[in-house]
């Protein structure tokens, strides 16, 4: 997955250069937040990191677990990349970034192995595979290597949060349709106190295997993207209506004047 998507990532990185150069002058924090969670959401708009997105979102707890891990790696790698951005030659920057990401991923893997061992076993190969999540390398190259530490850290946090939100929503959808429950096994991540968080929405529910298997994730993600496009479309229409209203107003002023 990594190499093929990396090349597309590079082109999208070039696209965002112009956008980010504005931020270089004075980091616009509100825009970073808006970009990460909505406008440039890694899962819904950039469609990066599809591999973990489709593979581990069968329950909410898996989704939050992997989302948190990805977010921590993203924040760490963005900070580290931003710190060394002026000392790394262009030719070796990608290997350097990947090495940074890989070391953060290893840290996360060891931490999860130590504190949430069962979840670590469930997520399995997808924790080490965070290294190949293009969203992380994409942000390192497109944002962190061009911006100071604080905006980079915020960008990492917001991109990670946007990714995690979509992951959890998808996890919730699939868990609800697949097993008829919500928030089952949350104790794997949040300890003993989360034992009774499990909501049995439908009792006596037959397991819908399709939603639990990866094809269900494709349909779920498609629905989420459609929903986002629908909101964007409405927003655009509202904008247009507002502009049209202003125009007629000014015209009327001109006519009477």
């Amino acid at each position: 997955m990594s190499e093929e998507t990396l090349s597309t990532e590079n082109t999208s990185a070039i696209d965002t250069v112009a956008e980010d150069s504005k931020a270089k002058v004075s980091p616009n924090y509100a825009e970073i937040v808006y970009n990460g969670i909505w406008k440039n959401n890694p899962a819904l708009v950039q469609l990066l990191g599809l591999c973990p997105l489709l593979a581990v979102t069968s329950t909410v707890v898996n989704a939050i677990g992997l989302g948190l891990a990805t977010m921590v790696v993203l924040i760490g790698s963005n900070i580290a990349v931003s710190l060394i951005r002026n000392y790394v030659a262009d030719a070796v920057r990608l290997p350097a970034f990947v090495m940074i990401i890989a070391s953060f991923t290893t840290c996360i893997e060891l931490i999860m192995q130590a504190y949430t061992y069962e979840l670590y076993q469930i997520l399995g190969i997808f924790i080490p595979l965070i290294v190949t999540n293009c969203a992380i390398l994409g942000r390192a190259d497109a944002f962190a290597s061009r911006n100071p530490v604080l905006p980079s850290a915020l960008d990492g946090f917001m991109m990670g949060l946007g990714f995690m939100i979509i992951l959890s929503v998808l996890g919730g959808m699939r868990e609800l349709i697949g097993q008829g429950t919500l928030f089952s096994d949350m104790q794997l991540l949040f300890g003993e106190s989360a034992l009774n968080w499990k909501l049995t929405v439908f009792s006596n529910y037959p397991d819908v295997l399709f939603a639990i298997l990866p094809p269900g994730a494709f349909i779920g993600l498609g629905l989420l993207i459609a929903l986002k496009n629908h909101f964007d479309e409405r927003e655009k229409e509202r904008d247009r209506a507002r502009k049209a209203g202003q125009k007629t107003e000014s015209r009327r002023v001109r006519v009477t004047g």
Binding site: P206, F210, A211, L213, P215
Partner: protein, 352 residues
């Protein structure tokens, strides 16, 4: 909206619009429906009603949501045809919510999301069936027909079917048994003759049941051919492909492989060949293309039945060949009148 005809004269049946074609296909399923109801009880009929109601409701809601004319598109009967085909493919004892889910998925995700009738790359009924089969393998492979019932020539009564579908019949297992295909699939280690002698699902009565069902669909298919709603290419190619590959394996492994006759008269072979594979939207257009497409389906059915995880493979075979249909069409364009050669492949730079 009328289905374009490939052969001339194109004005032969004016007024034969989409709705007429869909109605005729629904009519052509009646022999199969009757035989299934006769042999397996009223379950299929009840499923059919549930499926039709669900299909109309979903189609209307989705058309409304997509801001299309509801009445105009409902009158083309295509949603009802999808519902009928899916209901006929389902086992007679499946619970009602399973039928409703399948039809909902077929109408919403396989048809309307792609833009409604004529834009769906996959056969909606088979998408619904495949998703049901993947999601609920247990109820989807339980067919009515217990040994004693078959021997007595009896089937579950109307009220028993109703109870099975609405989930109040506790002992559904006593009415179900494996279909011949399912039974043969699990005859591991046995050679053919002893498998047919000893396994419950492969007894004479059960085999005859399935042969009658398939022959009924053959009759319906011939009716469609007679009306020239479908051409002979696809069904013949499906059955020939299935017969050819099963003959090859039958002749190379005389003691274990099933006979070609067994393969083309069991499961959904005839139903798939005449009613599913011939869907004008998702299948190939050119006649040569239809032959390739049909043969591909036949071969895939055998492969999935023999080495796959499911007893029958018609749904998956059709869906896989739906994927390939545009490509096949691309390479089997007929020579246009006035041109020396048929267009083949993509040409860059020239005028295509």
């Amino acid at each position: 909206m009328a289905l374009l005809r490939i052969s001339s004269p194109h004005t032969q049946r004016p007024g034969h619009r989409t709705a007429w074609i869909m109605q005729m296909v629904i009519l052509a399923t009646i022999p199969g429906l009757a035989v299934q109801t006769w042999l397996f009880g009223y379950g299929t009929l009840i499923n059919l009603i549930i499926a039709c109601i669900t299909a109309v409701v979903f189609e209307a809601v989705l058309l409304k949501a997509r801001q299309r004319s509801v009445a105009f598109f409902l009158k083309d009967y295509s949603a009802l045809l999808t519902a009928v085909l899916l209901a006929l493919a389902l086992p007679p004892s499946v619970p009602w919510w399973l039928t409703a889910t399948g039809v909902g998925v077929a109408i919403v995700f396989a048809k309307q999301v792609y833009g409604g009738l004529g834009n769906n790359p996959f056969n909606p009924a088979m998408v619904g069936y495949a998703i049901l089969l993947v999601s609920f393998p247990v109820p989807m492979t339980q067919w009515v027909g217990a040994q004693s019932l078959i021997d007595a020539g009896a089937t579950p009564s109307f009220s028993q079917s109703l109870q099975a579908i609405f989930g109040t019949l506790p002992t559904i297992d006593s009415y179900t048994m494996a279909t011949p295909l399912d039974a043969f699939k699990h005859a591991e280690g046995l050679d053919r003759s002893s498998a047919f002698d000893t396994i419950l699902g492969l007894n004479e009565a059960n085999l005859t049941n399935w042969i009658s069902v398939n022959l009924a669909y053959l009759v319906g298919g011939l009716f469609l051919l007679k009306l020239r709603i479908i051409t002979w290419h696809t069904p013949v190619a499906v059955l020939a492909g299935l017969a050819a590959i099963s003959s090859v394996f039958f002749l190379t492994d005389l003691s274990h492989a099933a006979t070609p006759w067994f393969h083309i008269t069991s499961g959904a072979a005839m139903f798939g060949a005449f009613f599913i594979a011939t869907d004008p939207v998702s299948s190939c257009t050119s006649n040569r293309g239809k032959l390739v497409y049909g043969a591909g389906i036949g071969i895939l059915i055998y492969i999935i039945r023999t080495w796959g995880g499911y007893p029958d493979g018609v749904a998956f075979a059709v869906l896989l060949m739906n994927f390939a249909a545009p490509l096949i069409d691309h390479y089997t364009q007929p020579r246009a009148y006035g041109h020396k050669k048929a267009k083949k492949g993509l040409k860059f730079g020239g005028d295509n």
